[in-house]
């Protein structure tokens, strides 16, 4: 009964390919996020959705497109993958978009672009 689950856990692909990462939460939370952790372990927000509505869109290349079919799911599609996209991508959820709600993270997807 994993709270926030992401698939796949590992993703190895070649430059130029398109790939997707899926995320689901069973906590009944309203808000979901995508974070990127680079090779130096630095975590930075990419996107956030609240009840299927995009509320945060940081400076991310257009090749990255999030989609939230319902409030329990948030997927990340990446077009034309580049070497610099190699990182660990974390999905997270929080009870609501208001400040103070802790984020619950998935186990991450390690993306390697060769």
């Amino acid at each position: 009964d994993t709270a926030v689950s992401q698939t796949p856990k590992y993703l190895v692909t070649q430059m130029g390919n398109d790939k997707s990462i899926k995320c689901e939460q069973n906590l009944g939370h309203d808000t979901m996020y995508w974070y990127k952790q680079d090779s130096k372990k630095f975590l930075k927000i990419m996107f956030s959705y609240n009840n299927k509505e995009l509320i945060i869109n940081e400076t991310v290349p257009n090749r990255f497109s999030p989609k939230s079919p319902d409030k329990a799911h948030l997927n990340l599609h990446i077009n034309s993958l580049e070497l610099g996209d190699s990182a660990v991508y974390f999905c997270a959820s929080s009870e609501r978009a208001l400040g103070g709600s802790p984020l619950h993270f998935g186990n991450g997807t390690r993306l390697t672009v060769t």
Binding site: F42, L43, I45, I56, A97, G99, G100, P102, L103, G108
Partner: protein, 116 residues
């Protein structure tokens, strides 16, 4: 924009010792929250402790406690009676309070190793 700084890239202590991880932040907000997250080698991000800025009392969770100094914008984490399972990356994080879209802003992390 808010920034979070963890000045200790790595720390190492012996099992059962007490260790303190430092964190400072910069903000002009008055309503905000601070967090410590732990990331063990398994890669999972685990919430350790949460502090509301409007509360003067320092948060405590079992062996984990914080020293929150609002005027100094400092938020250190103390781990008492450290255990081998405490070995992990520790991230300090800031979140604005209030309505609207909120996000966690993370520090660079401190790699903590507990030696037997």
């Amino acid at each position: 924009a808010q920034t979070v700084t963890q000045s200790q890239p790595e720390m190492s202590v012996q099992e059962a010792e007490t260790v303190t991880l430092s964190c400072t932040y910069d903000t002009s907000e008055n309503n905000y929250y601070l967090f410590w997250y732990k990331q063990p080698p398994s890669r999972q991000m685990i919430l350790v402790i949460r502090q509301e800025a409007y509360k003067q009392q320092n948060a405590t969770e079992n062996r984990f406690s914080v020293n929150f100094q609002k005027a100094a914008k400092s938020f250190s984490l103390k781990i008492s009676d450290s255990q081998l399972g405490d070995t992990a990356m520790y991230f300090c994080a800031f979140m604005k309070g209030g309505g609207g879209a909120q996000k966690l802003v993370f520090g660079q992390g401190t790699r903590l190793t507990i030696n037997p």
